[in-house]
Amino acid sequence: MRTTGWPLGVAALAVAAAAVGLGRAAPAQPSNDAEDLLTSARTASEHASFAGALAVTWRDHGRLRHTETYAQVEDGVIDLGAGQSRVLSRDGQRWVGEPGGWSLVLGPDVRAKIPPPPHAHWDLRAAPGPAVAGQPTMEVDAADPATGATRARFYLDRTTGTLLRRDVLAANGELLREVGFEAIAPVGSALPTPPPRHAAHDEPRPLTAVPSGDPAPETIGRGYQLLGTYRQPDGSVQLYYSDGLFTLSLFEQPGTVDWDALPAGDEQRVRGVETRAYPTPTTSAVVWGLHGVVITCVSDAPPDQARLAVQDVVGGGAGSSVGDDIARFVLGPFGWD
């Protein structure tokens, strides 16, 4: 999105929006239109150029916390953050760190499976939305088909299709997380941030075969499908899942949880198994141990949805089929020992 003449354009759009009553209740679009909007948003940044202030809000023990970061998007290169906490994205690669101290944390994975379509597990509705960062939007709501409750809202720039804000909601409608632009502007004539010439290689390696020969669970929770398996630089194994709208990873390590060394968190027993949960700005994490394997589940889904996947993995504790599969996966003869 080259937003040359942006202030004038926004003013014109605002006048136009007011003239036609945008932002008021309007008939929802068919679900497949909503899906098209979400699909387009995933690649919109490849053709966009703008900079903006990005606000991040999340709920932690009932209280909303806020912070802000910087984002610059130029022709497919995304540069986020500041100081030593930069993230750089280009094609299938992701670097973190800072100039002179980059670490490559993600490389292309041509073998990764395609995620299911969002409508496979969510009811999608599209309608004109409110202005976000001064831009008129289309709003896509994703509702749980079982309850009808909206669990996510996406606000997309009507002109470019760029995602300007994403909300994740609790079952009762309470805001859990929000990532959205507060202001955007043309990036000017600056060149895209070049990819680092030198970077530490900390990217996980795709696993071509399950170490133990036993299958990792292909599906967990309510429709999370396994897209790929990876070995992290520290030796842990990542199982990566998606339900088409949200994603979830299980990180598995042999051993038992050192609870005393972990920070305090939300402790809860899931089907008799001790777990400890931590909210992060844009994800939730749950740690537990089972069958000699320490498992950390990290997900951008609403925590209650991620918990369903955790319950599935924990199963009935010792003897559960999914839990046994994971234990064999991690502890199998070609896995760890």
Binding site: R65, V87, A209, F334
Partner: protein, 160 residues
């Protein structure tokens, strides 16, 4: 062929279960037939285990508590805005909004870090911050990259 001449990368991939079936079968044939290969395999396995047993750097529970104490909820630290954001705002000549600065974010990020390391091979402290960064980086491939990576700027770099 001595153990020093043997293909450590191949054996490492074998130990990690990352060979295709044919290659793995070939390696196993060699292991069955050659004491030198078995010796090399033992060295590769021992080296890998030694690396995994290295003590990690991380915050102690006490440091974690101190960081958590610094995190303010509902009370933005206006003066702590990240430099790039502040510069951006100046560039578009807007007054700063009621947004919180880096203090809360940095402290929350640091809080995630406590999750590190493995005192020994049996007791594990998952690296929650690093895992969160990895999850978000991977999610950015199949989803909207900007919103997925925004969280990574807050969690990356804090875990080993």
């Amino acid at each position: 062929m001595t153990p020093a001449d043997l293909p450590d990368d191949l054996l490492s991939a074998y130990v990690d279960g990352e060979l295709d079936a044919d290659t793995r079968a070939a390696v196993e044939d060699q292991l069955s037939a050659s004491a030198a290969w078995r010796e090399a395999l033992a060295e590769v396995t021992a080296a890998r285990d030694a690396v995994r047993a290295l003590p990690p750097l991380d915050l102690s529970p006490e440091a974690w508590d101190r960081l958590l104490g610094r995190v303010g909820a509902d009370e933005p630290a206006r003066s702590g805005a990240p430099g790039r954001v502040a510069a951006f705002r100046r560039s578009i000549r807007r007054q700063p909004g009621p947004w919180i600065g880096a203090v809360a974010g940095a402290a929350a990020v640091a809080a995630l870090v406590a999750a590190l390391v493995v005192p020994n091979q049996q007791r594990v402290t998952p690296k929650v911050a690093t895992f969160s960064t990895q999850q978000q980086a991977r999610a950015s491939v199949v989803g909207d990259p900007v919103s997925a990576l925004a969280g990574a700027t807050l969690t990356q770099g804090m875990g080993r």
